[in-house]
Amino acid sequence: SRVLTIENEYIRATFDSSTGLLMKIENMEQKLSLPVSQGFFWYNASTGDKKSPQASGAYIFRPSRLKPLPVSRWAKIHLVKTDLVQEVYQNFSAWCSQVIRLYPGQRHLELEWTVGPIPVEEYWGKEVISRFDTPMKTNGEFYTDSNGREILKRRRDHRPTWKLSQTEPVAGNYYPVSTRIYITDGHMQLTVVTDRSQGGSSLKDGSLELMVHRRLMVDDERGVAEPLMESEAGSTVRGRHLVLLSSVSDAAARHRLLAEEVVLAPQVVLAQAGSSLYYSW
């Protein structure tokens, strides 16, 4: 078939089997459908230019170009369907892969990404993002949380308390994402709950991106005197993005409960057979 789907009683995710990429998310409970294209891209880190000698570094995010490059335009996929899980393994490159999964009774789509070691043989610093593109009309607005508490409205190239002269069209629109980021068209809402603090933005309407990993060749000269460059082979990072598609009226209750489950996740402890009665004395 040209398309491939995974679904449970609430969510259906459709993939283009020729590219291996996610192409649609449906909330079957609320009869919502949203074309979503998700993939990994990387920004080439600036080492300084005519406008400014400032290089991208640990403190400073400064890509050399506005448009990120795709890690790959297609993914090699592998589908697993059992009673308890349905998952699509996507392999984008030797250093970037992802599993998109659905468990029964789950109202969100789980994206477990694995990125690294980032190759830097050509001496280009890379800042890797996961980007969701949708046709949603979002009027340049998106929302991020502030330390997992208040949700704040962010508007592209705008600050609420002063007249902004935007000099960094990408980095100047990046905001901290402690637990969640979302976009909405007033009717439906696409929320991504993260498992760790990340940087995120919406650089064009209907788009949402989160930075997942970075490896840089040049120090940003903010005091550390070392580039953000892991020694030896470099590190591999694995994390999860939990994606919720719901009506605006329903979204807050969903992402609050979900973020709680991520922050205060169950702890698993194992024990081999054989135990003795425990007496507190």
Binding site: A58, T82, P266, V268, V269, L270, A271, S275
Partner: protein, 172 residues
């Protein structure tokens, strides 16, 4: 003796120095990692003691720090093991447990001794690596509490014996 103070202190040092942003020299970052690991060790003992006291059973608890990359010697090598799942939330949660295991069939029991549906899925192997298997089952954990699930690997011989016993009892 369990102790959470070393981890408490390590966290305080890390937070004071803004250690999570990558804004430290590599040798300093390595030292932060060392302090965290050293702090977590006595915390594992503390959690083990707490679980023993709450469950009234003393066990050799094992914390798999590399479960995110499907490494857990206990689940991969044991034929029989227990999984204790603690829920820090103030409401009941359902949690899908995923554990790396060896190839085989497994029998999972909930805290009441009832069989729990489970699946074993094969992870797509990256080149040159052996096939990896993961055991999946859904666990229910009460608010601010824990549930203990037991897992038995069903050997082919045991399975055949069980089938033969079933046939004999049907014949009778």
């Amino acid at each position: 003796t369990g102790d959470s103070a070393p981890l408490n202190e390590a966290m305080a040092v890390l937070q004071h120095h803004d250690a999570v942003t990558g804004t430290a020299r590599q040798n300093v970052a390595d030292d932060y990692a060392r302090q965290l690991a050293a702090g977590w060790g006595p915390c594992e003992v503390l959690v083990s003691n707490a679980l023993s006291q709450l469950s009234y059973y003393k066990q050799n608890f094992s914390f798999c720090r590399e479960l995110n990359i499907s490494i857990c010697p206990v689940s991969q090598e044991s034929e029989h093991f227990q999984i204790t799942i603690y829920n820090p939330l103030g409401r009941k949660v359902k949690h899908m447990v995923r554990l790396p295991v060896g190839e085989g069939i497994f029998f999972v029991k909930d805290p009441d001794g009832k069989a729990v549906p489970n699946n074993v899925v094969m992870l797509p192997s990256s080149s040159g690596k052996e096939d990896q298997w993961e055991l999946l089952f859904s666990a229910s954990v009460p608010a601010l509490g824990f549930s203990i699930y037991t897992v038995d690997k069903v050997s082919v011989q045991n399975n055949l014996q069980a089938i033969s016993r079933k046939h004999r009892s049907h014949a009778r």
